[in-house]
């Protein structure tokens, strides 16, 4: 059972592994240009394992920004994961805390999205390990390869593959949207708020995702709870008449 869950997890995580391939390759390449050795670059992917923060760290290292500020910035960029793992926790099967602390390391925007939209009512730890393992392996391996070969994919392929993670997000979202007005409203509202932040530049991307997600989730929930209450009241009134 656990083995089957793990291999199903690997399968579910394969599209993340493909999506990470060009991003990690480019990271390895950029790390080299920023003056990191292959050990230093690969260690960052191995221990930090956070795409956006790693890219930002590279540019901050090149700009000789103080390391403490780089750490603080990393934390700020990743605060949104508090929200994601709190949400994911609702979907995970009960498990020993040590095991959860282990697979927690592998939760990124992408693995979260795959796990949280899974059609299973509850997700086993083995499944979570499968999804996170294949994504992590891709991230670390292609960072090292990017540093070694020090070159990008052919330009047209590099460009085309840059869409991979977004296409994956769409592929995860759309099936849930079909015939589900709540999901449509949630995604639409969060996208609208995110666009507002993007075009006004009031918040940096990490904060913007946190705020737009939270605002949309809370507002839509309030609307639906009220709507359900009204419907229950109406239907009980109907019974009385």
């Amino acid at each position: 059972m656990a083995n089957k869950d793990f291999s199903n997890g690997l399968k579910a995580g394969l599209s993340i592994a493909i999506g990470y391939f060009p991003v990690a390759l480019t990271f390895g390449l950029l790390a080299k240009t920023a003056g990191l050795s292959i050990i230093e670059a690969t260690a960052m992917s191995l221990f930090v394992y956070a795409g956006a923060s790693q890219y930002i760290a590279l540019s901050l290292i090149s700009a000789a920004v103080h390391p403490v500020l780089i750490v603080v910035n990393t934390f700020i960029v990743n605060i949104r994961h508090f929200l994601m793992t709190a949400s994911l926790n609702e979907k995970m099967m009960p498990e020993k805390r040590t095991i959860k602390a282990l697979y927690a390391f592998g939760i990124t925007d992408e693995t979260f999205s795959v796990l949280a939209t899974s059609k299973n009512e509850k997700i086993s730890s083995a499944h979570a390990f499968g999804v996170t393992f294949i994504a992590y392996a891709s991230w670390v391996t292609f960072t090292a390869i990017g540093h070694v070969i020090g070159a990008n994919l052919p330009l047209f392929l590099q460009a085309a593959m840059s869409i991979a993670l977004y296409a994956m997000f769409v592929g995860l979202l759309v099936p849930s949207m079909k015939g589900n007005r709540k999901v449509i409203s949630l995604a639409g509202m969060a996208a609208a708020i995110q666009s507002f932040f993007y075009f006004t530049g009031i918040l940096s991307t990490g904060w913007a995702i946190l705020v737009s997600t939270l605002v949309a989730s809370i507002l839509i929930e309030i609307v639906y709870v009220n709507y359900e209450q009204k419907r229950t009241i109406q239907s009980t009134e109907g019974v009385e008449n």
Binding site: V71, L83, P94, I163, M168, L173, L186, A191
Partner: protein, 102 residues
């Protein structure tokens, strides 16, 4: 770079690990109020909306059409019932053709 780099890496590792770990470990076995768990169950769909849009439009700097084609293609394949992998590979394929010839 030297020792400072490795200390920075340790700090960065903690800064990413803590937000991922705390909720999963400390909410284990906790029953949350219905409204809170309702909100938490909404998060994945809101996150996806915010991650996709508007960022997908600007995936190639200075080429808005690229993003628009990517958005439309991926939605179309997913809407027609394609699996996640089909959506990913199909969109890459269409955009590879687009970048090769245009």
């Amino acid at each position: 770079m030297g020792t400072t780099y490795w200390w920075m890496l340790l700090g960065m590792a903690l800064a990413t690990y803590i937000p991922r770990m705390i909720p999963l470990v400390f909410l284990e076995g906790k029953e949350l109020p219905p409204i809170v768990s309702g909100v938490l169950r909404n998060i994945p769909y809101a996150v996806l909306g915010a991650l996709i849009f508007p960022a997908i439009l600007f995936v190639q700097e200075g080429n808005l059409l690229f993003g628009i084609i990517g958005l439309i293609t991926s939605f179309a394949i997913a809407f027609l019932g394609g699996s996640v992998m089909t959506v990913v590979l199909g969109t890459i394929g269409i955009l590879a053709v687009y970048s090769l010839f245009i």
